[in-house]
């Protein structure tokens, strides 16, 4: 292996892969360093990608030229859009993945990417010089020099696996942890915390009686995540069913009786676990009135017998787990292939990062994924693409401005802003309720929001960008035509609409018709026939696929609300986007409370808006900052 790269990415999980791919797309000589080159983008927990907010992130990654959507499409064995009956902003595309094929597809992508080198190795320390990152020290004593690095350690930093009383130092089941890097990160001045997460038991498919469960099917007409897969055979793999079962009184009883053996309750686990992904112990304790909890039974692939019991994560002893699993309808004979386990790991409090995901204490060092306290493959990948891009940009300093996505632009932007501004005290998961501009952030609008930006930086290759932006332009033309095409209440039209249950008494436009709740949008094409003047646009309307037609309809129906949110974004921008210089001396500012100074120094907000979101920074303190910034600006002008 060479001893010098422009960018090194440490860790080959979901964050690391996207980071390395992004850096390589920008043409940087990039090294992806991982302890096991066969384990790229391994799905260490559930065999699925996407869902609410997460599905939007996958689309955002795709819109920025990332790999996750394509890999998920090509390895998908059940596609389902959650909230399909709701408006487009809150629909969440999700796929059940073949874990093995997901890993293979990602490996293929990484290996086929020019200027990206994949190598095995474990990093034990970062090397600094002249106030910035200079390279990395590996466990075999060798060093790699680099301009910038992205560290994505996932659950490996001092990872500790718990199954009942048993504890093992592991980063994932059966894989060695990163033991010494934590100390080194502390040495450069970072403050570290400890988080906990868990994963449920895996059982053998052949040992299950699915006739006692409810079948959960995918969508009849699956929609891919990625733009590229629209022009490929899709879905590529045979589609499978999932199953739904539930806990029973006996399960709850077993859990209560054995609670003292759960390290979560005995106090052996100190790391904080996520509330949105509670262990079954937690659910039983916190919601004692609930007679049962759902268990989703999900195959982990086409060629594997492994099955994931979603909803049953726990850390009870393996023997108790077997009793619990077998008290569940359909799982009476279940053979456990791997018990559920909890894992504790070190993370870096993310308020020590800039919104570029660069460590403030050590320029050139970027962090992404679970090391920043998040959970979830999509959250990791979303940070990965931003960190990888910014590391690549930092490696050739001053070339162009870093990639920072706004809260109104992307869920990735919401997430990173939450992380670096608010900090965290539990593993962070994206939810649509975290986004104040939720209506602007639909999965279907990701390309309109991000592709032009991605293409400009060089993340999206020009041909793909052209195809994507061409479609956006097409949709805009169709929307415009529907807004202007008029509909007069002549006899024929009135009768035709009456047959659809839509009374028409005065002239309107096709868009006006679409906004009427009683109008069935699928009738649009028939009604529009002969009413759109430009034959090219009329043909474009006819050629829209189901998703595109749905999007045009929704954008017309929701345009009032969209305009309202867009106006809010515009109002927000002026003083809140005022930049705070990195070197601002908070301590010297008269009138700031000790608490505010401490918080501001710790979080180092980049903008006035971020400052205002930090818990403990009062509106008065923000006013004071505004005054100071204004004065500075005037002094520098004078």
């Amino acid at each position: 292996m060479r001893a010098r790269f422009e960018v090194v990415v440490v860790g080959g999980g979901h964050a690391g892969c996207e980071a390395a791919l992004a850096s390589a797309r920008l043409g940087r000589d990039t090294l992806l360093l991982t302890h096991d080159v066969a384990a790229l983008a391994r799905m260490s927990c559930n065999p699925a990608v996407g869902g609410l907010a997460k599905g939007q992130v996958v689309r955002e990654i795709d819109a920025l030229g990332g790999a996750m959507g394509r890999v998920a499409d090509r390895s998908g064995i059940q596609f389902k859009v959650l909230n399909a009956s709701r408006g487009p902003a809150v629909r969440g595309p999700r796929v059940q993945s073949d874990k093995v094929l997901y890993n293979e597809e990602m490996s293929r992508t990484v290996r086929a990417t020019p200027s990206l080198t994949l190598a095995a190795g474990a990093v034990v320390a970062v090397r600094e010089g002249g106030g910035r990152l200079r390279g990395l020290l590996l466990s075999d004593g060798s060093e790699v020099a680099c301009e910038a690095a992205v560290v994505t350690t996932g659950t490996f930093l001092r990872g500790l696996v718990h199954v009942g009383d048993e504890r093992r130092e592991e980063g994932r089941w059966g894989e060695p942890p990163a033991r010494t890097l934590s100390e080194n990160l502390k040495a450069i001045g970072l403050s570290l915390g400890r988080m906990k997460t868990g994963t449920p038991p895996r059982v053998r498919a052949a040992s299950l009686d699915t006739s006692r469960m409810i079948v959960a099917r995918g969508d009849e007409r699956p929609v891919p995540f990625s733009f590229a897969c629209r022009s490929e055979p899709f879905p590529r793999l045979p589609q499978v069913d999932c199953f739904l079962t539930h806990t029973t009184d006996r399960v709850h009883d077993l859990i209560r009786r054995n609670l003292f053996r759960s390290p979560l309750y005995s106090g052996r686990i100190v790391g904080r676990g996520p509330r949105y992904c509670p262990s079954i112990e937690d659910k039983v304790v916190r919601f004692p009135d609930r007679p049962r909890h759902q268990i989703f039974v999900e195959p982990e692939g086409l060629s594997t017998d492994w099955t994931y019991l979603n909803g049953l994560s726990m850390s009870l002893p393996a023997a108790v787990q077997e009793e619990i699993v077998r008290a569940i309808p359909g799982l009476e004979q279940a053979e456990i292939l791997r018990p559920a386990y909890a894992i504790e790991y070190d993370m870096v409090f993310p308020e020590q990062l800039d919104d570029t995901l660069e460590v403030r204490a050590l320029p050139g060092l970027f962090l992404a994924g679970q090391i920043n306290g998040t959970s979830g493959y999509e959250e990791a990948a979303g940070q990965g693409i931003v960190a990888g891009t910014n590391a690549a940009l930092a490696a050739r300093r001053g070339e162009r401005a870093p990639l920072v996505l706004g809260r109104h632009e992307a869920y990735i932007g919401v997430m990173i802003d939450d992380l670096v501004t608010l900090g965290i005290d539990e593993p962070y998961r994206l939810l649509t309720s975290r986004a104040e501009y939720r209506l602007l952030l639909g999965a279907d609008t990701a390309y309109a929001r991000l592709t032009a930006k991605g293409a400009e930086i060089g993340l999206v290759d020009p041909r793909s960008a052209d195809a994507i932006l061409d479609r956006e332009a097409r949709l805009n033309r169709v929307r415009g035509a529907l807004e202007t095409a008029s509909l007069t209440p002549d006899r024929e039209t009135v009768e035709r609409l009456a047959a659809l249950g839509v009374p028409l008494s005065e002239e309107t436009t096709l868009a006006g018709l679409l906004r009427r709740p009683e109008f069935p949008p699928e009738a649009l094409r028939t009604v529009a026939e002969g009413r759109i003047e430009d034959p090219l646009v009329a043909a474009e309307l006819d050629s829209l696929d189901e998703e595109e037609a749905g999007r045009v309809t929704a954008e017309i129906r929701y345009c009032g609300f969209l305009a309202r949110e867009e106006a809010a974004v515009r109002r927000l921008s002026r003083s809140l986007e005022l930049k705070i210089p990195r070197d601002l001396e908070y301590r010297g500012l008269p009138g700031l409370s000790h608490e505010a100074v401490e918080k501001l120094e710790r979080h180092r907000p980049r903008t006035l808006g971020q400052a205002g979101r930090i818990p403990g920074v009062t509106p008065a303190a923000v006013t004071l900052l505004l005054a100071r910034l204004t004065l500075r600006k005037r002094e520098s002008v004078a």
Partner: protein, 450 residues
């Protein structure tokens, strides 16, 4: 997001606020500030005669109208172009007569024309943002910052502490619960059944009812905050100024035996058995003989028109005139007929029923008069709450409107967007933000997560 409530809602809006202290005074100044063109556009709705491009820093005498174009007052309008103004934006100052009702009507008219009430310190913030303040002034703000813990929100809360604040919090709790239900359903569709529009409508009924009660309470309270006005009218020399001074306990109005001495309305803060009122003395009610007196009588009519209680003073020693009878009729329930000079023998025949007789000279009946006025004012208050500022009323009204939209929305995510708006508006009163609390609520209420 919530900490920066003041900025979230529009740095580009036209804001309006009185620049003079509340209560009656000879003059009041209302200030509008906004982007170039926008403040003038609002001003033009209040001052129809304002030219398209008025000369900056040039005072114009003009008629002010209310939202329905009804004349309100005559005064002076003074425009400032950006950046040569106190805030660095386009500023328009309106100088009007200092009757609280006129000020209130102009503020409502400005809002109807698109301005919104300024939040505390907002003029200052804009001035800072536009570089209109120097270091010394900025440090004045620093001092302010030191003295408060949660800033403007806490200060606002201090004003509404008590019953109103308790009720705002209760509504907020209720809205947060409803929003948590909706959000949980949106983010965890596999674990929670969708509620649907009908359920949502029913669930929001309680909060909506509570909000509309709050809005009416606030409206009553805003009306009260301008300090009730008690205006004295009566024929010349009936003894208005003498009574005015007696009630005030000071020689404020000029008292001479010449009729028509008081040409302007004279007003003073007075304490009527613990209730603070504005006491207004006016020119006499009779056909004016001079131009000056004509203006005085006009002022008297207008002042009486805006009063909460009109003390119609009648001289007990001479029979009531037709003007007095007409006045009693036109002021209706607001009129309180007071027979003055009760130390003199009563005249006959007597057609007006006096409720109280006083003698400013002996002091007889003064305490009774004060008690009756106080009782009258008291009966106009609704449920004895603490004052609500104009912008609190505005926030409540916005919250109520948003809750109504949420109940009527046909999609949960749209309803959620409105509910966030409602909570945000209530947060301007209570100083609380919703996002983290909302997540806490979702996770503690629903068993979520696979």
């Amino acid at each position: 997001m919530g900490a920066l409530v003041a900025d979230r809602e529009g740095t580009g809006d036209v804001i309006v606020a009185p620049a003079t202290p509340p209560g009656a005074s000879a003059l009041a100044i209302i200030r509008l500030s906004g982007p170039p063109g926008a403040a003038l556009a609002v001003a033009r709705r209040l001052v129809p005669s304002l030219p398209e491009r008025p000369e900056e820093r040039h005072a114009l005498v003009a008629r002010f109208v209310d939202a329905e174009m009804r004349p309100l007052d005559e005064g002076i309008v003074l425009p400032f172009e950006a950046p040569r103004s106190s805030t660095g934006e386009e500023v328009v100052e309106l100088f009007c007569h200092g009757a609280p009702a006129i000020v209130a009507a102009l503020l409502s008219a400005a809002q109807a024309a698109g301005a919104r009430p300024a939040r505390p310190g907002e003029f200052t913030r804009r001035a800072l943002a536009n570089g209109k303040m120097d270091l010394a002034e900025a440090e004045g703000i620093a001092h302010l910052a030191r003295s408060e813990s949660r800033g403007a929100a806490r200060r606002a809360l201090g004003l509404v502490e008590g019953e109103l604040s308790r009720r705002v919090r209760a509504v907020r709790e209720d809205l947060l619960d409803r929003l948590a239900e909706i959000e949980a359903g949106l983010d965890f569709p596999e674990e929670l059944p969708a509620e649907g529009a009908v359920m949502r409508q029913a669930a929001l009924g309680k909060a909506q009812a509570a909000l509309s009660t709050l809005v009416s309470a606030a409206e009553g309270s805003v009306a009260r905050e301008r300090v009730s006005t008690v205006t004295m009218v009566g024929r010349p020399n009936v003894g208005k100024s003498t009574l005015f001074n007696a009630l005030l306990g000071a020689d404020r109005a000029i008292v001479t035996p010449d009729p028509g001495t008081t040409r302007d309305a004279v007003s003073e803060a007075a304490d009527l058995l613990g209730t603070r009122v504005r006491l207004v003395d006016t020119a006499g009610l009779r056909e004016p003989e001079s131009e000056a007196e004509r203006i005085g009588v006009d002022v008297a009519r207008r002042a009486a028109g805006l009063a909460d209680v009109v003390l119609l003073l009648v001289d007990g020693s001479i029979p009531p005139s037709s003007e007095e009878e007409a006045a009693a009729k036109s002021f209706g329930e607001r009129a309180l007929v007071v027979r003055t000079k009760s130390d003199l023998p009563a005249a006959k025949p007597w057609s007006l029923a006096a409720e109280v007789a006083v003698s400013a000279r002996t002091g007889a009946g003064l305490e009774a008069l004060k008690a009756i006025v106080r009782e009258r004012l008291g009966s106009m208050e609704n449920d004895g709450e603490i004052l609500v500022l104009e912008r609190h009323r505005d926030a409540l009204a916005r919250a109520a409107a948003a809750a109504r939209e949420a109940a009527g929305a046909d999609a949960d995510e749209i309803a959620a967007s409105w509910l966030r708006g409602a909570l945000h508006a209530l947060g301007e009163i209570t100083g609380e933000t919703a996002t983290e609390e909302l997540l806490d609520r979702i996770f503690s209420t629903f068993c979520i997560g696979k």
